[in-house]
């Protein structure tokens, strides 16, 4: 039964603008404030629902207990884009509190279903696209020590981050369970795939832009010696950085190595390269 259906029956809303914003910003501030590998963001849910619990279940300690309990489980997603889920769940908890025909497992199921996909797409958009691009602009503005660089970054991300969070939460609340169709439906699959393509291309550019590895070797060329780096640049600029990142990717994805192991391998390669006069 869709949220709009059920709402047309009897009372329509329970949560005031203020209630909603409380749920939003409690999560927005504390999502990771007790992060362990065991629970990660789990308890932030319970914390977000404290005012809700006190307001709507103040006379029904059992319901209150169940509410806080079901929102103390392991949970993890990208916390800013992931506010979409918080919005959806808010609309469901509202239904439950109004006594509508929504089971108490529903919010839990939705959390576990959606947190994975949203973590993937959220991390790649925020950490893979937005942050590195803003940082590269900021870095170019900071050349020579100008405070414009960090200030640009602070202002830009300071607007973008909370805005994403706010819009995601309120869209989630407005759409309610319907949001699920949008998130896991056929068309959403296509949109996610397209964002992935965008992400892959940008990450490729990021690799070329950020990894620095130059060879200092010289090779004989028509009598004189010529810097190998120049020769490589004539053929394929950025070949060494490319080789490094492809190696890293292969170790991470095909060999399932941990980040630490990959760092060790890279350190060994760099060390040997430096010792034999390659880098």
């Amino acid at each position: 039964m869709s949220k709009s259906d059920s709402k047309s029956v009897g009372q329509d809303k329970l949560l005031s603008k203020h209630d909603l914003n409380q749920i939003w910003y409690r999560w927005g501030f504390t999502h990771l404030s007790s992060m362990s590998y065991e629970k990660i963001q789990g308890h932030s849910w319970a914390y977000s629902y404290i005012p809700f619990a006190n307001k709507f279940y103040k006379n029904d300690i059992e319901k209150k207990r169940r509410l806080l309990q079901r929102h103390s489980m392991f949970y993890n997603t990208e916390p800013q884009t992931g506010q979409l889920i918080n919005g959806i769940v808010a609309s469901l908890e509202e239904q439950i509190a109004m006594g509508k025909d929504v089971s108490e497992e529903m919010p839990v199921n939705i959390k576990t279903t959606l947190m994975g996909p949203l973590a993937g797409i959220g991390d790649s958009i925020i950490q893979g696209i937005i942050v590195p691009i803003l940082l590269s602009i900021g870095m170019s503005l900071a050349k020579g020590g100008s405070p414009l660089g960090p200030i640009f970054y602070i202002v830009a991300y300071g607007i973008i981050g909370p805005t994403i969070s706010y819009i995601a939460f309120h869209s989630g609340y407005k759409l309610g369970v319907n949001a699920i169709d949008i998130i896991v439906g056929e068309n959403s699959k296509r949109i996610t795939d397209a964002f992935n393509i965008l992400g892959v291309m940008v990450v490729g550019a990021l690799a070329a832009n950020t990894i620095v590895l130059k060879t200092i070797a010289k090779i004989p060329m028509g009598g004189k010696t010529e810097s190998l780096e120049n020769v490589l640049n004539g053929i394929f600029p950025g070949l060494l950085p490319l080789a490094m990142v492809l190696l890293g990717w292969w170790l991470v994805s095909s060999k399932q190595m941990t980040a630490t192991k990959v760092i060790l391998i890279m350190t060994v390669i760099v060390t040997i390269g430096c010792l034999i006069g390659l880098f």
Binding site: G28, L32, S34, I133, S136, A142, G248, W249, T271, C274
Partner: protein
């Protein structure tokens, strides 16, 4: 001990706490980890603390380059960027103000102490989690607040602000000794490593976005547009958006709008007749 270092070191320690991934005070990650936690911003803040903005920013710039592809997914991270930034830049500002030193120290701190402290803290938090869980079971909202917010934050503050403060306040001698006694080849290796480190973050990102080996084609196109065609990141984002839109467009099997319904009709009528077929079978 240089007592004039007291306040700069203290402030740097506090910034290192405020930039932590688990700090709530600046609207969670949005203002904490993603803003104060970035070495570029750290450069400005530490520069302010030490009263030398320009040197601070130059150090921040150099350290940021190493950690630009820092990635934190599922709670795991490839480098402890906050310790690296505030430890590295702070110690450099307390000594030579040399960006290369800042980078070297940041890598050393980020990849060793940083990761150890990070994972140690993650483990400690399980303790608070267990108590928070119990509080929830008892509908004890105060318990939740204490164990989700208050105690963990005290833990973090102790684990971040204190060591960073101490390192900067007392570490000057050690760092000067390191600078003078480390053989040049080691410095060189660390510098080269600084250039290579972003490869790991990017490799991890690739692991997230590349769902299909053939999509390496898009990765290569992005790489080539920057390295050969010398386009900027922003330009590439727009070109990538075009490609992504084309991909989205091609991924549908609709024609030009009405095509979609056509195919649907085909499927549906096929299904209808399929039903019919089964019905026929019954008689």
């Amino acid at each position: 001990m240089d007592t004039s270092l007291f306040f700069p070191a203290l402030l740097t320690g506090i910034f290192c706490y405020l930039g932590a991934i688990e700090t709530p005070w600046l609207f969670g990650m949005s203002g904490g980890f993603y803003i104060v936690g970035r070495p570029l911003v750290a450069g400005l803040l530490v520069g302010l603390a030490f009263g030398d903005i320009k040197s601070g920013i130059l150090c921040g710039l150099a350290v940021q380059a190493v950690f630009i592809a820092n990635l934190s997914t599922g709670g795991a991270t490839n480098s402890e960027i906050t310790y690296a930034a505030y430890g590295g830049i702070g110690l450099a500002m307390a000594t030579t103000k040399n960006p290369a030193i800042a980078v070297t120290l940041a890598i050393l701190i980020g990849q060793t102490f940083g990761l150890i402290f990070y994972n140690g803290r993650m483990a400690l938090y399980s303790f608070w989690n267990a108590r928070a869980e119990k509080a929830a079971d008892q509908a004890d909202t105060r318990g939740i607040t204490l164990n989700h917010l208050v105690y963990p934050q005290i833990t973090t503050f102790i684990l971040r602000a204190v060591p960073v403060f101490l390192a900067i306040f007392y570490g000057k001698g050690l760092v000067n000794w390191l600078i003078n006694s480390i053989p040049e080849i080691i410095t060189h290796i660390i510098q080269v490593l600084g250039g290579v480190l972003p490869a790991l973050g990017i490799a991890l990102l690739m692991g997230i976005v590349i769902k299909n080996k053939t999509h390496l084609i898009f990765f290569m196109a992005g790489f080539v547009l920057l390295s050969f065609a010398k386009l900027s990141m922003i330009a590439i984002v727009f070109i990538a958006a075009l490609v992504a839109y084309m991909y989205y467009f091609a991924s549908s099997n609709k024609g030009t709008g009405n095509g979609e319904s056509e195919t649907k009709e085909a499927t549906e009528s096929a299904v209808n007749t399929d039903d019919e077929y089964e019905d026929d079978d019954l008689f």
